[in-house]
């Protein structure tokens, strides 16, 4: 059999690296763009943490980096809000939606289901380029007159609609909206491709119940995205109309800057409904891929099948479904009908059940395993920990009666950073450590990886755990400083401590970036199957080729979790502790976890 041969092997640089339609290259593009955005978002948080930890103190670095957004080394109050808004937007959408889903859905879907590429390479390429353009516009908005969007990542009108209310609602907000519209297009194009590829292009034998959990999580994420992102687009569009054409969908009875506005008849609450119809599912768009990735890693590194494969899928489906009917828990104190509030409390707390099932299944997977602690595995354990720590406080916030007093306080900031921010980041980083050999054909350095993990988990709990206490002391979020209230006088120590941890967290990520760049260029060459995994991506060569497999795509004969399976004599069936999916079932052997 001759190896894969193209008539025109020498592709142009432009088509190989820039306008590539190859899913592996697109995945790399998403990863690198996402990380650059993530680094910017992270730096922003470190900067505004300086202000919160040392309110009013002058910093050279703030002057240097923020320029006209600061005065004498202290950032300006409205620019603080601009930073918070951009930080939130970048982290949630650019790093943890596009960066996470874009990278791993693109990399793993074709490789793990046994396809040569995505259903439409062209749409896939468009998806990346929309993301890229959207990122660029978002960054440009940092430099425009009036500053970047400053109404919070939730951009509630009227604040986001009226430049009179805050300077960032001028050109900055316009660019934000343009960037997000393009972002949504990118996300939809991506999701279309993911869904169709998974449903239509699986290789022979790859039934739905033989799919790795990663693929299931990407599928559910994509479906949730297709259903909820268009609604955000609708919400944003009506906001654009209000801002630019003078309609009144969200605006009514406003007196600002010494005059009464013409708008009448609209309601900002409408925006909140539309926004959170996306906004909540968005949390799961971030979380589900992280859960899928870590399920795969935990199973592989424990040398055990993932416990309760079907229960894991069912819980993800349940979470995906429920995520669409809980948005009202962000609106308990908007004056909504109390009965509706009760319904939303009920649906919200229901989500705890599938989440709990997932946690217990993770833990049981570890039980009696034979666990190798690669950095990916450490981050996966970290994810289970953050998912528990952050998920439990969700029970407080989802309970309408309790939410009254903690809504929009630092308790919320602590909660969502742990359950969404940290879990998302941990899942993504775990994925990078695990599949780095597949992406770059080289290995990351383990010692640096371990150091990265320990610094990250210690500092991130150091940042976000104390925030719950701030919240319980009544500190609202999106405050430039807490020093204006006698009530908060004694809390400065907590804020200072958090800031020190934030600086540590930032430093820890530098180790990772160093490891990433060094290893991508100089790291030791990867073997084909470094973690002894079962799924199909490890049957492809280390060197990337167009079409993934040189000959026929392998046929699949079993589920991907046959680790440490023994025969009647108590020996490993294949002599090794793993049986790749391409190995036919033995005589009388049951698939899917049967013995």
């Amino acid at each position: 059999m001759s190896a894969h041969q193209h008539p025109h092997e020498e592709q142009d640089f432009l088509f190989k690296y820039v306008f590539s339609q190859d899913h592996k290259m697109i995945s790399k593009q998403f990863l690198i763009t996402g990380f650059i955005m993530g680094f910017i978002g992270l730096s922003m948080s470190t900067l505004f943490r300086l202000q919160l930890g040392f309110p009013g103190e002058s910093f050279w670095i703030i002057d240097f980096l923020l320029g006209s957004w600061a005065e004498n080394g202290v950032m300006l109050p409205d620019k603080y809000l601009a930073l918070v808004t951009m930080h939130g937007t970048i982290m949630v959408f650019f790093l943890l939606t596009a960066g996470l889903s874009g990278t791993f859905s693109n990399l793993l879907i074709p490789l793990q289901i046994g396809a040569r590429d995505m259903a439409s390479g062209f749409l896939n390429m468009l998806s990346y380029w929309f993301f890229f353009v959207s990122s660029v516009i978002m960054l440009i908005s940092l430099g425009v007159e009036g500053g970047a969007a400053s109404a919070g990542w939730t951009i509630y009108p009227p604040l986001s609609a009226l430049p009179q209310a805050i300077p960032g609602s001028g050109l900055g907000m316009t660019l934000w909206l343009v960037a997000m519209a393009i972002f949504i297009a990118s996300s939809l194009l991506g999701s279309l491709n993911y869904i169709v590829t998974i449903l239509n292009l699986r290789t022979k034998g790859m039934t739905m119940t033989r799919l790795p959990l990663t693929i299931w999580s990407f599928l559910i994420t994509a479906i949730v995205g297709v259903i909820s992102f268009p609604v955000l687009l609708a919400a944003a569009l009506l906001l654009v109309f209000d801002r630019s054409f003078g309609t009144s969908f969200y605006l009514s009875d406003i007196y600002i800057g010494g005059q009464v506005l013409e708008h009448s008849g609209g309601s900002p609450i409408l925006f909140e409904h539309l926004f959170w119809f996306l906004g909540h599912p968005e949390v799961y768009i971030v979380l589900l891929p992280a859960l899928g990735i870590t399920s795969e890693i935990v199973s592989t590194m424990s040398r055990k099948p993932i416990f309760g494969y079907r229960a894991m899928i069912t819980s993800m489906l349940a979470i995906g479904f429920l995520s669409a009917i809980v948005w009202g828990h962000h609106m308990f104190v908007t004056g909504m009908n109390p009965f509706l509030g009760a319904v939303f409390t009920f649906t919200t707390l229901l989500i705890a059940i599938p989440s709990a099932v997932k946690v217990f299944n993770y833990i049981t997977t570890l039980w009696k395993g034979n666990i190798k602690f690669s950095p990916a595995m450490l981050f996966s354990i970290g994810l289970v920990s953050t998912f528990i720590s952050g998920g439990l406080t969700g029970l407080i916030l989802g309970d309408s009666a309790l939410d009254i007093n903690v809504h929009d306080t630092y308790f919320v900031v602590g909660h969502f950073h742990i359950v969404m921010g940290l879990s998302g980041i941990f899942g993504m980083i775990a994925g990078v450590y695990h599949w780095f050999p597949k992406i770059f054909g080289r290995m990351l350095n383990n010692n640096l990886g371990n150091a990265h993990f320990w610094i990250t988990i210690v500092s991130s709990y150091g940042i976000f755990f104390p925030m719950h206490f701030l919240g319980l002391a009544g500190v609202p979020r999106r405050y430039y400083t807490n020093s204006e209230f006698p009530l908060f006088e004694n809390l400065l120590d907590i804020n200072t401590l958090i800031t020190w941890f934030a600086i540590l967290a930032f430093a820890g990520q530098l180790i990772f970036f160093f490891n990433f760049v060094y290893s991508a260029l100089r790291g030791p060459k990867a073997p084909q199957n470094p973690w002894k995994g079962n799924s199909l991506e490890w049957t492809t060569g280390v060197k990337h080729i167009h079409g993934n497999w040189p000959g026929e795509i392998p046929t699949v004969h079993r589920w991907p979790y046959d680790y440490s399976k023994l025969n009647e004599n108590g020996d490993y069936v294949t002599g090794e502790d793993f049986i790749p999916q391409i190995v036919p079932l033995g005589e009388g052997e049951l698939d899917g976890g049967g013995h």
Partner: protein, 196 residues
């Protein structure tokens, strides 16, 4: 053993056969969600006290009939192609395109009617109830433009005799989208007439 390469034209066509329709369908789902979002927004806004009930302009009846007809002609064109009556197919496709353009024209007339009866898109005298009328219909029209472009492609290709009874995927996709636009319009029409 033969090598399957991604650059293999036949392989590419095969993938397209397999995935083009599902891609379109899921795209349609996202458009449905977009309009579901907008129409539920209208329902939420309606509970506001100063909501004004509006009459649908009479032009919308005509546009509804036009678009229903266009779906019919497009469907006919599909059957003609399948029966290898390519000339008729081309004629009916062009007819569909003309009907689509007429639909667009009637929409503009309808907006004029609205405007003349004092219902404004924006500004001091506008009310969200009126703005929704314009917004929903205009956004539908925006999607229709995409349909018109696809029709243009089909018209050109059938003039160039690119289609045959076994090669109808392109028409099929455009047709599905066009039917979808019709259904969406009928939904919006009844929604505006009875709910708004």
């Amino acid at each position: 053993m033969t090598t399957i390469s991604l650059d293999n034209i036949k392989y590419k066509a095969e993938i397209r056969q397999k995935t083009a329709k599902p891609l379109l369908w899921i795209g349609l789902i996202s458009i449905v969600m977009f309009f579901a979002g907008l129409t539920s927004a209208l329902i939420v806004s309606k509970s506001n006290s100063i909501w004004i009930k509006l009459e649908v302009p009479s032009m919308f009846f005509i546009s509804t009939i036009l678009i229903l007809f266009s779906s019919l002609t497009y469907q006919l064109s599909m059957s003609f192609t399948k029966n290898n009556q390519l000339k008729f197919a081309t004629i009916t496709t062009i007819l569909t395109f003309v009907l689509g353009i007429s639909f667009t024209v009637t929409q503009f007339y309808a907006w004029q009617q609205l405007y003349q009866s004092g219902i404004f898109w924006a500004g001091e005298q506008s009310n969200p109830s009126g703005s929704y009328f314009y917004a929903l219909t205009a956004l539908h029209l925006l999607h229709l433009f995409a349909g018109l472009i696809s029709l243009l492609v089909v018209v050109t290709k059938s003039l160039l005799k690119k289609y045959s009874p076994t090669n109808v995927l392109g028409i099929q996709l455009s047709l599905t989208y066009w039917h979808f636009l019709t259904a969406l319009w009928v939904y919006l029409f009844f929604f505006l007439k009875f709910i708004a």
